[in-house]
Symmetry: C2
Subunit: 421 residues, 2 copies
């Protein structure tokens, strides 16, 4: 009789992070593990003994399908950095005591770079102490900045949402252009890697011009140069749409959003970005005097499960299952990766890779996939991304809205009024 699996979610959520959770659950049950526990709020909640038995929530195949279509972290997530082992052994002792208490054999953590760092530390500790648990990382990040894997689950769906929204924003802007110039600046997530920002160029097609300018955080950004480019474009056309990463920095290494006002930092010391587009829109308005609009896609770009890519949902599910399989076959301290088997037709498969070579490494857009002027992505970039946004996972619609699986509302009172008194 096999023991149990525990799975947690960490870092910023995505539209498909729960599809990986569904994959972990399904494969674990099929491979004969006794129970699948879910940590509430990642390792941070787990340290407080916050966990659930997943079977209490996933009782039917429909529940599993709903979970695949539910955005954000079903279990809750955290941004919690484990200390190095030599800095605080007690916390590791505590974690392994809890794991033993729950008869855990397999520990899976769904997350990005910071989460792979957690897997690395826990597997190192288990090797030092001879603990029985296997630790496997399940990649997840809309930013697509994890090393080694061809791409990350979560990225494709965000890219699809961003490209679709960019098309719709362009439609809207084009409709207003008579005898007045207008400039729209769209701000996209991605602190250091411009994968998502570049994905806005997928909107360029037979029925859409695509954005005029795209600025990735990989290259230094010149505010004056930006205004000059827009001025030049406005001589030829009335509607200009520029897409910028939230993380663009000037030559001096200062984030453009820092020019805008106050920002705060999170537990990892990352600056919380906001206001890059608003700031640039105000500069353009002042310098050129035309109508401007700043649009932040905000959390919707990571939460819009209603527009998830089928390739992404399916790959996220498969990657979750592959984590369990890898651990069951004896792997530990590894991350499951996606290998691109072929481009045309697109095919992928999963592999496993030593997490030490992944943790804290950051994959950015290569210089050769950005055009010479530094204000657009190349065709090669688009060829890389395009397969990842294909296909649609039709939401399960109830009363006109997508239905999700929720950990919060197990008992719904049908007789209660749905408005508020």
């Amino acid at each position: 009789m096999k023991g149990n699996v525990i799975v947690g979610q960490s870092g910023g959520p995505t539209a498909v992070i729960n599809s990986s959770l569904a994959g972990v659950f399904k494969t674990a049950m099929e491979r004969g593990f006794s129970k699948v526990y879910g940590m509430r709020y990642g390792i941070q909640g787990f340290l407080d003994e916050q966990y659930i038995n997943m079977s209490d929530y996933i009782k039917t195949e429909l529940d599993l399908e709903l979970l695949k279509r539910t955005p954000s972290a079903f279990l809750g997530t955290c941004r919690y950095k484990l200390p190095e082992i030599h800095e605080d052994k007690a916390i590791y002792e505590r974690i392994f005591e809890l794991l033993d208490k729950l008869d855990i054999e397999v520990f899976i953590y769904i997350g990005g770079n910071d989460s792979m760092d957690t897997i690395r530390k826990l597997s190192d500790y288990s090797l030092l102490t001879g603990a029985r648990q296997k630790f496997i990382g399940c990649p997840k990040t809309i930013d697509n900045d994890l090393a080694i894997t061809d791409h990350c689950p979560g990225f494709g769906s965000s890219a699809k949402y961003i490209a679709t929204s960019t098309k719709e924003i362009l439609c809207d802007a084009m409709g207003f252009s008579y005898k007045k110039k207008n400039v729209t600046i769209v701000e996209i997530m991605g602190r250091n890697a411009g994968w998502l920002t570049g994905a806005s160029a997928l909107s360029k097609s037979e029925d859409c011009e695509g954005p005029d300018l795209i600025y990735l955080p990989e290259l230094p950004f010149s505010i004056e140069g930006f205004v000059a480019e827009i001025k030049k474009l406005l001589e030829k056309k009335d509607v200009v749409v520029a897409v910028v990463s939230e993380g663009i920095k000037t030559e001096e290494g200062k984030y453009v959003c820092e020019y805008a006002g106050s920002n705060s930092t999170d537990a990892f010391g990352h600056i919380q970005m906001t206001g890059t587009a608003s700031y640039l829109a105000s500069v353009v308005k002042n310098e050129i005097g035309c109508k401007t609009r700043a649009i932040e896609l905000s959390t919707l770009q990571r939460a819009a499960a209603h527009l998830a890519s089928r390739v992404d949902v399916d790959e996220a599910f498969n990657v979750g299952g592959a984590c369990v399989k890898a651990a069951d076959e004896g792997a530990t301290g590894m991350m499951v990766v996606i290998d691109r088997v072929s481009d045309d037709p697109y095919q992928s498969s999963t592999g496993v890779y030593d997490v030490h070579r992944i943790a804290n490494g950051e994959k950015v857009v290569p210089r050769k996939w950005i055009n010479k002027a530094g204000n657009y992505v190349t065709e090669e970039f688009l060829d890389y991304v395009r397969p990842l946004i294909q296909g649609h996972y039709q939401p399960v619609m109830v009363e006109g809205l997508p239905r999700h699986l929720s950990i919060h509302m197990k008992n719904y009172d049908w007789s209660a009024p749905r408005g508020k008194k």
Copy 2:
């Protein structure tokens, strides 16, 4: 042999304004009108003789289906206020000269309150001068603030997008709540009418708590009261989501967004709203000290055709057709309205109504559909809105993205690279 029809689009676009355009075109062709002209950029472009022959763009049934699924104004729109007849006769003479030159019998204007004002003036002028043209208004506004009609085409799709996005935003916020309080403030369009803001409450269902607080522009807003409500909620729960209209005003009659900084006004003297949520988030952050996030759904709430409501797309199409039918049967100076025939099951039909009784009248949310505390909508409100968000118009997906009909890109170069050099 019948003469021609001309149709224009005016004011802020919606996700289904082109479905009405498709309805006008189809009915006009079926009823034997010779040509359907489209004004570029409404009456403003028309005055410069900017128009197209719609048949040059809609050549197949598929084109018509794409048009129904294309957000924003296919023809382009304007915000252009005609002077009163006695103020500037010359402009009216110019318009009717152009109409005669194009052998126009029917003039249809798709728009909101300001557009109905245009229909009123043009039909008044035609009655004064005995001109042959019939003038019919086709209602369109996401704001749902037109009088007489049960609701407006465009509203249902925006409501569906807002409710869906609110669900997804709530999923995202709930996932981050461990040991830290967070407050999300979502800003929704609707200057004076809270229909869209209230629609966010549709998200409340078996799998979603819905927002905690909803503030409509119909009632005066107290910044101190708002902070106090949030403080009270944070004592009981970790995640608070408040939805506010862009147009909320304090007791003194000052827009909340005016506290935030500079704003501009458009040709009708309307203040351009921006920054209400950001301002309130900064107040909450200062007063309470918790993590806050401001989200503006921005233009996407009127442009997200990928999530249009089937009821809305179909009604918009029918209303467009009904405009042609009404004019063909001799009506002028009228607006087509939607009558709700039955609630359960939901059924509607079109009627016509004197535009003089509609123009510049504004329908706001009745006080009895807002709860006593003034911070939520009632069940009756939701019963009114719910039928309008039902059903889905599956986008025509090409390479993973919704395909639109575009007036701008008739000749696509297949051999050109789709990135940029």
